[in-house]
């Protein structure tokens, strides 16, 4: 038997090169583009239509989310049920969501059913009628969901965090209240639909594994549609943080929800990728400092993460956890200790090396599937980044020193204007 060395890790290779796969960019009509990204092994399709219809575009709270969820609720010729039956029959899924900066309508289907599903999907996107009756049902069910959400510490914490970090008037802090939902009218949805869907299609993206002919079918369908690319002006939004400690009492909770964070930088900032790496080391993965200290050493939580969230009209960096109420003060103190530590001591070389390899490895893993690649492509398009944005991570990570990271920590993890939201028992 070979004498095994179980003590030290076997020789391994580091990742020297990352490549982002080729994709096609096809102009369908005047400035309206279809992006096609092929990857993976299964003959499946995800088709995304991206609209200027997110939180930043709405004129009234809950308008974006309801317009998005009502898209599948009926057209001039098909009821909500007829639409659902037609799409379900081919095993496809129709999903819509309103995000901070846009809204996305997605068709998932097997390639073999594309030509059957696509016309139905397009009909829903271009001929939606927002029936009063369906709106009424959605409002009622949405109010029920809101009641349940308001019982969740994590929901209350998130909502309050965004209100304190961006200011209550900022679109990112718009959480639909009972009144917001009740006040929504069919007319408000139709006007938003006409201005921000019919005249607000930004681009279309198809990902999965498919033949050229499928791209052709999709391109033809869009070409024949009423969609035109028109750039709508977006407003300017002022960020108004309220730094300091904010406590929301929930006397019946056995854990406290906690968010601590501050305004940060967006993807186009020169420091962004390095800061993302610093955040990884601090609280962005299982081997991070926050996890090691607060979960693995002290057992105060099931999980603790720090997140860098770069939206187009404001970015924030925050620490998020549900923590044992009894040791809450200790946990918060430890979080600040970790911030202080990463600002005052250079990160040891071995820790840097681990984080770097982990980061590149996880990128490599995401190359496995077409959809995570499509998500990254969307980031490139939305932020007008170069195609080299992701591959450059290798050289950026290789050239970033501990000293530089420490300087970034001082600059971006500065606790002076920090917002702290705690939801739980006193």
């Amino acid at each position: 038997m070979i004498d095994l060395n179980r003590k030290t890790i076997p020789a391994f290779h580091t990742i020297e090169k990352l490549s982002f796969p080729e994709y096609q960019k096809i102009e369908i009509k005047n400035q309206l583009f279809l992006y096609a990204l092929k990857a993976g092994t299964q003959a499946v399709i995800r088709l995304d239509f991206i609209f200027e219809a997110g939180l930043i575009h709405q004129l009234q709270t809950a308008q974006a989310s309801f317009t998005s969820s009502m898209l599948s609720e009926g057209t001039q010729t098909k009821s909500a049920l007829a639409l659902a039956e037609a799409l379900d029959y081919y095993g496809s899924y129709f999903q819509t969501r309103a995000n901070a900066d846009d809204a996305v309508a997605t068709l998932y289907c097997l390639e073999k059913h594309l030509s059957n599903c696509l016309p139905i999907f397009m009909e829903a996107l271009t001929q939606s009628v927002f029936p009063e009756k369906e709106l009424d049902i959605q409002k009622k069910n949405s109010l029920s969901k809101l009641l349940v959400n308001e019982k969740k510490n994590s929901y209350l914490c998130k909502k309050n965090y965004y209100q304190k970090i961006y200011g209550e008037q900022h679109p990112y802090a718009a959480f639909g209240s009972k009144e917001d939902i009740q006040q929504l009218s069919k007319d408000k949805l139709i006007s938003f639909y006409e201005s921000n869907y019919m005249r607000g299609l930004k681009y279309v993206m198809v990902s999965g594994q498919f033949k050229e002919n499928s791209i052709h079918i999709i391109a033809q369908e869009i070409k024949a549609s009423v969609f035109e690319r028109q750039v709508n002006a977006t407003g300017h939004f002022t960020i108004q943080s309220t730094p300091g400690q904010h406590f929301i009492e929930k006397s019946d909770s056995v854990q406290s929800a906690l968010r601590i964070g501050k305004i940060s930088i967006g993807r186009n900032h020169v420091d962004f990728r390095k800061l993302q790496f610093l955040n990884l080391i601090f609280g962005g993965y299982f081997g991070s400092r926050l996890m090691k200290n607060i979960r693995e050493d002290k057992g105060l939580t099931y999980g603790i993460y720090s997140v860098l969230e770069p939206n187009l009209h404001g970015a924030s960096w925050y620490i998020d956890t549900d923590i044992n109420t009894k040791n809450r003060t200790e946990g918060i103190t430890e979080i600040y200790n970790e911030i202080k530590k990463i600002q005052s001591d250079p990160i040891p070389q071995s820790e840097l090396e681990t984080a770097k390899n982990y980061y590149l490895g996880s990128f490599l893993k995401s190359l496995d599937g077409p959809f995570s690649l499509a998500d990254r492509l969307k980031i490139i398009i939305d932020n007008t980044l170069a195609d080299t944005y992701y591959p450059e991570f290798v050289s950026i990570l290789n050239s970033t020193s501990s000293k530089e990271l420490q300087e970034l920590a001082v600059k971006y993890f500065d606790t002076e204007n920090i917002v702290e939201v705690v939801v739980g028992k006193k």
Partner: protein
């Protein structure tokens, strides 16, 4: 079993750290049937995965400090998932109602926090040495690696681990339920909720696939019967879902719904029962059957995009003793016909086979 759950687990931190240095990630979960450790890493570093997992099988870092920290972590997990969420304890309530003999009456994390608090090092050790044995494990390697290289690495890292005298007692099977079971719970939640759990066959039971399709026909999405009749038309529920537990041994077919404000349990439940009776009285159309089979095919194909998913599917098929199941799943669904669906519904969806939980908003 000494420890009724495999949830008290150790993460040997140093080797975990080393795995990340090789660009890898690892995690684990415990279901009713298995504990699954998994590692993903760049193909040319696969040996690091063998090194980590074989070491984990050989022994663990059994220290009091490590146990005490992990105990606290799992207690926080218990609170986060089951206690600090509205309706979080539904699963903890429904399992012991539906199962009187079979160990599925335990949630994998334990029935209550004291079970986690009382887990001691001896229990953990004996559980580990009994169950985490090479003769009680299935290894799946998936990715850009040859069979020869896989064999070489298996022989190098796993062969030296001696087989253990694993004792797994036959689990008591659940006797046939003969009368309706009902339980009322009162909690600080905003809406009443009803859960109906029916016993169904196990993963290898011939009717398993029919049950799965049945749950899609009744409750899967916006064209499903329940959604259209009970959520939209009658507006009795704000949400109503059906799903199966998918366990290896006989599992559960569940109907779970939140009642609209002002609707009584009696009205809501009789509307469900009425739909079930209607369903049992007529055959499903070919069109509807094709629809749910097409949906299932989409789910399988989309699931197979991920290499990790494919590896896990293979592992579970091997665990069930029919490795080919990973390839033939869709054929089993295609073999279901309207008569089978009707027969299954008639046998299964009866009150004597059902445990009902009435979750009252206080």
């Amino acid at each position: 079993m000494l420890l009724p759950n495999g949830k008290v687990r150790f993460k040997p931190y140093n080797s975990h750290f080393a795995l990340q240095t090789a660009g890898g990630e690892s995690n684990a979960f415990t279901s009713n049937d298995i504990t699954n450790y998994y590692v993903t890493l760049p193909a040319n570093n696969i040996e690091t995965g063998f090194w980590l997992e074989s070491d984990r099988m050989l022994s663990l870092d059994f220290s009091e400090k490590s146990l005490s920290v992990q105990r606290n972590v799992v207690i926080e997990e218990f609170k986060e998932r089951y206690l600090n969420q509205p309706y979080g304890d539904v699963w903890l309530r429904i399992l012991p109602l539906a199962y009187k003999e079979h160990p599925y009456n335990w949630a994998t994390i334990g029935k209550e926090i004291s079970h986690i608090e009382q887990a001691d090092l001896d229990q953990v050790k004996s559980f580990f040495f009994n169950f985490y044995a090479p003769n009680n494990a299935i290894l799946v390697v998936a990715g850009n690696i040859s069979l020869e290289e896989t064999k070489r690495l298996c022989e190098k890292w796993f062969e030296p681990i001696p087989r253990r005298n694993t004792q797994i007692n036959a689990y008591p099977q659940e006797p046939k339920q003969t009368e309706a079971r009902k339980e009322h719970v009162y909690s600080d939640v905003p809406l009443n909720m009803i859960v109906k759990a029916y016993h169904m066959g196990g993963r290898l039971d011939t009717d398993y696939y029919a049950c799965d399709l049945l749950s899609d026909i009744l409750g899967g999405g916006k064209s499903a019967k329940f959604y259209n009749k009970l959520v939209k038309e009658k507006r009795l529920f704000s949400e109503l879902d059906t799903y199966i537990s998918g366990d290896a041994d006989p599992g559960l077919f569940l109907i779970e719904g939140k009642l609209s404000k002002g609707v009584s349990f009696e009205t809501a439940e009789s509307a469900i029962l009425e739909e079930l009776e209607l369903f049992k009285s007529e055959l499903v159309s070919e069109k509807e059957l094709t629809k749910v089979i097409n949906k299932t095919e989409t789910n399988i194909q989309f699931g197979d995009i991920s290499l990790l998913n494919r590896a896990m599917k293979l592992a579970f098929a091997a665990f069930l003793g029919d490795i080919n199941l990973a390839n033939t799943e869709i054929d089993h669904y295609l073999a279901v016909n309207p008569e089978t669906l009707q027969k299954v519904a008639k046998n299964m969806l009866v009150e004597e086979n059902c445990s009902t939980l009435y979750y009252h908003a206080k």
